[in-house]
Homo-oligomer: 234 residues x 2
């Protein structure tokens, strides 16, 4: 039977052999939610970039620059880290160079995967349906916060395990922890997340609307995947 | 206010500054449960040792050799990894050289701590009361399984957070995850742990009696701490 693992932090990826697996990278607040939204609104490709300098260099080549550091937009960048910035459709057909505190680092650490996908609540069913149809074993890689485990990515992992538990074996305990957390909080996720370290940090930045949106399942039927260093959906 | 963190795997210790903190090392199944039991029955000291060879060398110096690899007793060692092996009192006043798959490695990784304690359900109140009385911030370090997060150590961390949440701040989300897990499963921990990867592995080794004992709070009022490379209680 295929297996599905939950890796609760990018600092634990070395414990897994990714080479024969589908890795779903998750950074709910807010990188992978933004990426999903951007593709749903016609972006052609997103290049995940580890540092700010590389993003700026890509701007010269015509890329839109997006990203944040410590939850805030980077000075001089075109776009920040709110999904609402990616809805206009005015970027249709363009490419984005995207760097974030945690999300793009998680992608960097899982480049050895057989297949790398971008997951968020916004495209939950697209992720789940793809994993069901694939013959690969899978790993949900939570981006976390600077290496530490976070609630929102663990909750998403739990939602995926909940949907796939009859199709996949769950070899380790991280899957059970994520599943249990999701099952006990899914009916009041926004309230539960109000306790989280990330929401406490972001409270200062007034992004409650973003958080509510990022926790809403199945807004978009897109599934970004990494091909040749860039995320695409085609 | 003092803080208390939960570090869910020894592979995440580098994210924390341990030098000004009390670190409680936890390996419920079964290293720290055995250590607690051994001290309650009169052992003078335990030297945590990373490898089998070093254990064998200490035997020549009069140490009792204890430990396991992959959940099973090591050939030629005096004692294995069941707390019931440490109850007889015949080892009273002796020293043990102890090596295990996860527990002793977790101790090794936290030697920079201001204070290093051994925690288990068996001495839960001793741990909690000490942390309450101390002015140090604290970290509960879960030994996990070969770097991966496990249920039983996370449950213990949740029990400590539950007891201390009005005395300490909990800065990160791992504390909330452990607390939520403990609060929802504390009344049927043995049944819940039946799903865990560790219990599935150990089922083969018939240690259900060990597991039930290792989940029983407050059997012993001892608090092992590391002093000069050895655990003592005096």
């Amino acid at each position: 039977m295929r297996t599905i693992n939950v890796c609760l932090s990018p600092e634990l990826t070395h414990l897994y052999d990714l080479s024969d697996k589908t890795v779903v990278v998750v950074d709910i607040l807010r990188a992978t939610s933004c990426m999903t939204t951007a593709f749903a609104h016609g972006i052609a490709a997103i290049r995940p970039v580890a540092n700010l300098e590389e993003c700026r260099e890509l701007k010269v080549q015509g890329y839109i620059t997006s990203g944040e550091r410590n939850g805030e937009k980077v000075e001089g960048f075109d776009k920040g880290n709110s999904p609402f910035e990616y809805m206009g459709g005015e970027m249709k057909g363009n490419k984005i160079a995207f760097t974030t505190t945690n999300g793009t680092q998680a992608i960097e650490k899982s480049k050895s995967a057989r297949e790398l996908l971008i997951g968020s609540f916004l495209n939950l069913s697209a992720v789940v349906n793809h994993l069901k149809a694939s013959s690969n074993s899978a790993i949900i890689l939570c981006a976390g916060w600077k290496g530490r485990v976070n609630l929102e990515d663990t909750l998403f992992a739990g939602a995926v395990i909940d949907a796939l538990k009859s199709n996949f074996e769950t070899p380790d305990d991280a899957e059970l922890i994520a599943l249990q957390l999701y099952q006990h909080t899914k009916d009041n996720m926004i309230e539960f997340l109000g306790q989280s370290s990330h929401v406490k940090r972001l409270n200062r930045l007034k992004i409650h609307k973003d958080i509510a949106f990022c926790l809403t399942p199945d807004q978009y039927d897109v599934l970004p995947r990494l091909v040749g260093g860039e995320l695409i959906t085609k």
